[in-house]
Amino acid sequence: MTAAEVGITDVVDELAGVEPDERSAALRDRRPVTREQLQASFDALFAPLSDEHFALADRELVAAFATRLTADDAASAFYADRARSADPVAADIVLAEAARAATTGPIGHYREAGLQNENTDGVRYAPSEDAVIALGSRLAAALAHTHLLVYRPREADDTAIQALLDAGWDADGIITLSQLVSFLAFQQRVAAGLRALALAGPAPSDSTATEVSA
């Protein structure tokens, strides 16, 4: 299901509540390549040439999980709806896992010797046994990896990639999974940033801003 098929031409406009002729639309229009390629990124991930290595329904479930971990906001609601449309039973399980596993980040231990004093601990998620049985070990491994990328990217090492390989993922699938979770980290933050900018209201005149900084 592409954005065009559900009647949306630009997902970030939808998530950020950008209306044509508003200030936030003008801010986005000023960077047409960013606007167009951000949407092209969404289309590449959710309407790919082939989903042989990472099935479309699984992409929707991972997206719902990733965005709910990052925030309880318009983006997580958008992807939860898409996941429920793709696979209502699995979506309920994945969303319950996300609600249970939502925490704060980024945290984790560094590999670098000189950064050991910055190590922090927190929730390290593993899918529940029921979820593994219901979703299968392959999708469950993807959820575990997603949680790692969302909250502990500094701990994402070769053992994490090996866990995906052991669960049946191949290199092409792992790259697309990594891109999906990482892209969503970007898209969700752009939308949140634009919403904050709109909430802040109109800027004072440029001369006022310059005075304050002087």
Binding site: R28, T70, A196, A209
Partner: protein, 202 residues
């Protein structure tokens, strides 16, 4: 069928640094001699075929292409908006918060060069986001950090602080996009391979 990740003996970096950190992939990249026109479309610049990182991402050419074009527009399109040095500061600050030593090294070098403030960039690398870099850069670093943490903490208060530091809303939008983008870049760079100590350290 189960594969195995690649193994590397090369030394890890010691800490955040402005020196040239290397990078090695955990999975085989597409071999240079096997690159097709579809892969080159994904790489955008044919010169990127020399990079293991980009040839590994070329396993999914369409998302790589869109990612590359977004990246270039956010950071290199400087006909107007936020100066390049400030965009690189946002990238370095996000990388510092997420813990991407490789990304931080690249964008610390760019930031130090474009803003001509290597000492302040080094302070950010050494002390993290609490470093005092002067109010304009402090505001950009605070906004970048608020956009990076989960749950996302960026709000109107960060917008107001950026405006008070002299940024207009076009520039605030550039901070948002630059900081948000590195939450994409860091996660890829940290997870599909690992950093290698700069030549002077090993």
């Amino acid at each position: 069928m189960t594969g195995t990740t690649l193994t590397h003996d090369a030394e890890h970096p010691h800490a955040f640094t402005r020196a040239e950190v290397g990078w090695l992939p955990w999975l085989p990249a597409v071999a240079e001699e096997e690159l097709t026109e579809r892969h080159y479309d994904g790489l955008v610049d044919r010169g990127r075929a020399g990079s293991d990182y980009f040839r590994l991402l070329a396993r999914d050419p369409e998302i790589l292409r869109a990612r590359t074009l977004v990246d270039k527009d956010i950071f290199y399109n400087t006909v107007d908006g936020l100066p390049r040095g400030d965009r690189e500061l946002a990238a370095a600050a996000v990388s510092r918060v997420n813990g991407c030593v490789f990304c931080a090294s690249v964008h610390a070098r760019f930031g130090a060069h474009h803003a001509k403030r290597p000492d302040d960039i080094d302070l950010l690398l050494a002390e993290g986001t609490s470093a005092d870099l002067g109010e304009r850069w402090n505001a950009i670093v605070a906004a970048s950090e608020a956009l990076t943490v989960t749950p996302i903490a960026f709000g109107p208060v960060h917008v107001e602080r950026l405006r008070a530091a002299g940024l207009d809303d076009d520039e605030v939008a550039d901070v948002i996009h630059g900081a948000a983008f590195f939450n994409w870049a860091n996660r890829l760079m940290l997870s599909i391979g690992r950093p290698v100590a700069p030549p002077a350290e090993s």
